[in-house]
Amino acid sequence: MFFLLFKRKSKQKPLRVILFYVLYCIVNEGVSFYLQSLRSQTFITLLNLFTIVEYTFFCYFIYLILPKGSIKKTVPFLWIGFILFAFIDYFFFSITHEFDSIASGIEAIIVLILCMAYLFSQVKGNNSLVVYSTFNFWAVIAFFIYFSGTFFLYLMTDKMRVSVSFQKMYFVINISFNILKNLLLCVAMAMKLNGVVKEQKKVIPDLGDDLFIYQKN
């Protein structure tokens, strides 16, 4: 949060998307915790909604950072396709309205593929800047690691939620990867900070404009 607040002035779109995503995650966690304590069924709806919103944030972010090409063009279609699928799954197939394992699994697969596409574009591109010194790379890594780690977890949640040992494991894995994701996003923010500092150093120093005023007179 410190990094996010510190960087709020930045005008770069990918950074803003990540900022709002993190803020949304925090709000969602808070509301979920509150609803869970009330044992409200809205908690499940919120969880399903989180998948869609999280996916939307990611799609927008990856769309902004991907270089021009066919993969970038497919991102909006992937987004529309998944949103439609998630709604159809929620309203027509998921009768019990429990955890959306299938939607989460598909979301994870799409996110992982798009992350790999981004990494591949970085390898392929003729970039003189080392890839790990950029904000985009660390943000993508955060998503990549998070979705890799939680892929099996979310896939099995629907079937295994009644098991006590699984619930414990769910808690440990989910929290661990959430922390890891946030740490990696912090690293991403730090990268951005360094970039800004470097940019500021390049600003032309004060040339003493009074000299020119004197000449004009």
Binding site: Q122, V130, V131, I145, S148, S165, F166
Partner: protein
């Protein structure tokens, strides 16, 4: 029943842990591969860039050195030839002040005139070597033919030039650069190859103009030319390379299939006449 449920949960937990660790491992491996590969690519690019910079530096140095040598040659020509000639003319004119007899005066004025004429011719020669007037006034074809006729006239080597398609000429700057390249190549052939003949052919295809020089002496091949480009030796060849770069053209050093003639081909893309 409870035992079976617990057993299933245990199996699923195992799958979950193994799956999660496997996915994590794969993700970390993939990221590492990307990072290391990119670093490798950057290192390689930097190396290439450094080599290119060194090559540019070498070409620049060669160009400066060539300029300096040219200046020294002009200075030597002026100092050793024009200087003494003018000094002698001055002596003859001085003599006029001492000897008042009209016959002696006339003789010394005539001698001074002769010397001044020689000086004018000498300065004209120097000026022509800097910028051939034929090239300036009549273009590349005339200048090259003139150069080859002069070489032929010297009796050292048999030289001929033929232009097949020069209806659409290169612009002035390009013509001068091509002329300098041809001059340098011909000088090298005369100096180093012990050739019996040199023949230049010009032709054009589309927007590209080709110049090919054949000779029957000892020549160099493309690999020798490329090697010399990276050496500190071969100043003339470096100048050729720099000029080719300015022309955005290409140069090829080859030997014909019968291994009898060496040929140098220059490709020049036409630029609009300014």
């Amino acid at each position: 029943m409870f035992f079976l449920q617990d057993q299933t949960a245990f199996t699923f937990s195992g799958v979950l842990v193994l799956g999660t660790l496997g996915m994590l491992f794969m993700a970390v491996m993939l990221v590492s591969i990307v990072v290391f590969h990119q670093r490798k690519v950057i290192r390689f690019n930097k190396k290439i860039q450094k080599m290119e910079e060194e090559r540019q530096q070498m070409l620049l140095r060669a160009s400066i050195q060539f300029q300096e040598e040219e200046r020294q040659r002009i200075a030597a020509d002026l100092h050793d030839d024009a200087g003494p000639l003018l000094a002698t003319a001055r002596l003859y004119l001085n003599e006029n002040l001492i000897h008042q007899e009209p016959a002696t005066q006339l003789q010394s004025i005539f001698s001074a005139k002769q010397i001044i004429d020689d000086s004018i011719q000498l300065i004209r020669n120097i000026s022509h070597s800097l910028m051939p007037p034929t090239l300036k006034n009549f273009g590349l074809e005339a200048a090259v033919k003139d150069l080859f006729e002069k070489i032929n006239g010297s009796g050292v080597i048999n030289a001929s030039a033929r232009f097949h398609d020069n209806r659409q000429r290169l612009n002035d700057e390009q013509e001068l650069l091509v002329f300098r390249i041809v001059q340098e190549l011909v000088t090298n052939i005369i100096k180093h190859s012990s050739a019996g003949f040199i023949h230049l052919t010009q032709n054009a295809q589309g927007n590209i103009v080709y110049f090919r020089i054949h000779h029957d002496g000892r020549g160099i091949l493309q690999r020798d030319f490329d090697k010399m480009e990276h050496n500190s030796a071969g100043l003339g060849l470096k100048n050729i390379q720099s000029r080719i770069r300015v022309l955005k053209g290409k140069i090829f050093f080859e030997i014909d299939n019968t291994h009898t003639y060496y040929k140098v081909t220059i490709e020049v893309p036409r630029e609009p006449i300014k």
